[in-house]
Symmetry: C2
Subunit: 335 residues, 2 copies
């Protein structure tokens, strides 16, 4: 039984905590927060032991009637791995603490690739076996890795170009904009291409723009196929259909937008209305003049949740790739 | 002096009317409306003769105290050309009327290409000289033609892939959505590529998505360059910089989003705050591994306004391409 500590019980941390709690080979030994907000209250209600993140004010929790158990250092001897749920770049700052406590750690995709071994379950599970520091790549990179991984398995990719139409903020981050504008990321190509290469060796360039929505990212993907390749649209559809954590959606299901996908996730009875799978619009899949086109949507808060669970299994060599993915999928009800 | 009748004084029609009124070789002889709304009132205030579109109820205008002069058929003998400002596909229905009255007509990009000769001033002015029916291509196609036309002039384009991140609705069209979602156009490639080919012979495929903003469209453009071509980023910048109706913008001007561009247009003192030029983010222009990348923004209501004026000159062979563009630009204060 692996004891997992969630350092930063926020958007990602709380979701990973719930997912870890559903596994039989790992458990949550504690979660930490910086501020005594509604997430802190919920952690206690769920039965998790609540800790303060290093530097947080214990009294501010006490004043709200929230009992805390101290800091990570106080239970370090019982912790097998910390899953870092801190905002981007804060994880790197936390690394000193983990090192000084001698703890293994799993970071999120907002950190630089240099922080540890980059992880995506389907594309490079085995490279992460036994690693002390693992970085689960970002939601967007995970989305690219899921579908492009299918294509790379059958060795058809010559070059990929993808445009990432990004939601501007997480749903709760209501102080951010824009409310009526499109913001280009003027660094072209964007960082997403190089990031994908940390988990999948394909030739890719990406462009990113931010738009006024909070629900999901959308990727338009163009794959130049290798010249001697004779693959059909139906075969591509079949590849995606047979890969777990990728689902095909479309008009026939009434799914015409990212909002429809989020409503569908709620219908599935998913915890917090999450959509762990990458959704590919079936009708958008098309091959023309040697290029494969398709459009997919990525739920930024949750597609990386099952990846974090699998990263724990890789780190401690608990199970092989296929078995780990299957166990995680079953526990989370993944299609 | 060419007498121009605007049939449909709406989003496009009223802008083209203002632009025509600023030219010395053409004038507005009348404008028509279907409903007595604030555009109708403004037309009269501006001194334009107001007509009813065929089938509209004259009394509804009378009841609002708006004097109308009748229908297009009542002044057909004084009209040299009708500029059709009707919503998409309505122009095709109006064609029967124009033919029965023996009138020349200029249509907008919402019509099928088969309605007449497709027009973009920089790329195919001469093909439209003397045509009786001309279609000014859509705002998006105009945007693609403006910048890709520069590149085609120096013969560097092998293949273009572009993703059109479209504003979901015109600013006044406040009944439409989405308010918090991204809608993919699942027909991939989208119709924009074939439409561009009606005015510029380049190999292009496009993908389109709709996002919750009303201000401008944004295009991410990826141009695979011909193998033997040795062109630099600076040379591309210079091509765009020297082409009228294309401007370079960026961080140094404080222009980081489509909203910033619209605010900039207001600062320029433009009529209705319009931005006739295609705005290319200078920092986004980059060449990597034989592919040119750039991002541009398109003001959907107004980039086609100068094109309509030039289309009139081509139709009646009033001026050559360069002279017409220069006269139009000067009259509208185009950069």
């Amino acid at each position: 039984m692996i004891n997992v500590f969630i350092n930063g019980y926020g958007t990602v941390g709380k979701r990973v905590a719930d997912a870890v709690a559903l596994q039989k080979d790992m458990r949550i030994i504690g979660v930490s927060k910086r501020t005594p907000d509604f997430d802190s209250e919920q952690a206690i209600k769920k039965g998790f032991d609540l800790y303060c993140v290093e530097g947080a004010d214990v009294d501010s929790f006490k004043n709200k009637g929230l009992e805390t158990k101290g800091y990570l250092k106080d239970i370090k001897d019982s912790v097998d791995v910390v899953i870092d749920g801190a905002p981007g770049k804060q994880g790197a700052k936390n690394m000193d603490l983990y090192k000084s406590l001698g703890l293994n750690a799993i970071f999120q995709g907002g950190e630089d690739a240099s922080i540890g071994s980059s992880f995506n379950a389907h594309t490079n599970f085995s490279e992460n076996v036994g690693q002390k520091y693992i970085r689960v790549v970002s939601c967007n990179t995970t989305g690219l890795a899921r579908t492009l991984g299918c294509l790379n398995d059958v060795n058809v990719i010559k070059k990929v170009k993808a445009v990432m139409v990004r939601r501007a903020a997480d749903p709760g981050d209501n102080k951010r904009g824009p409310i009526n504008a499109i913001i280009p990321e003027v660094k072209v190509p964007s960082h997403h291409g190089p990031d994908l290469k940390t988990v999948l060796p394909v030739d890719i360039e990406t462009i990113a723009v931010k738009v006024p929505t909070t629900l999901m990212h959308l990727h338009t993907i163009m794959v130049d196929l290798k010249k001697d390749i004779d693959i059909t649209r139906d075969e591509i559809i079949s590849l995606f259909d047979n890969r777990s954590r990728v689902i095909l959606v479309g008009k026939e299901d009434g799914i015409n937008s990212t909002a429809d996908i989020m409503e569908y996730a709620k219908n599935l009875g998913r915890n917090r209305g999450d959509m762990y799978e990458i959704n590919v619009w079936k009708d958008s899949i098309n091959i023309k003049d040697g290029t494969l086109y398709y459009i997919q949507a990525v739920h930024q808060e949750s597609d990386i949740v099952p990846e974090n669970v699998d990263a724990v299994r890789a780190m401690f060599d608990l199970k092989g790739k296929d078995e780990s993915i299957e166990i995680t999928n079953k526990a989370l009800g993944i299609l």
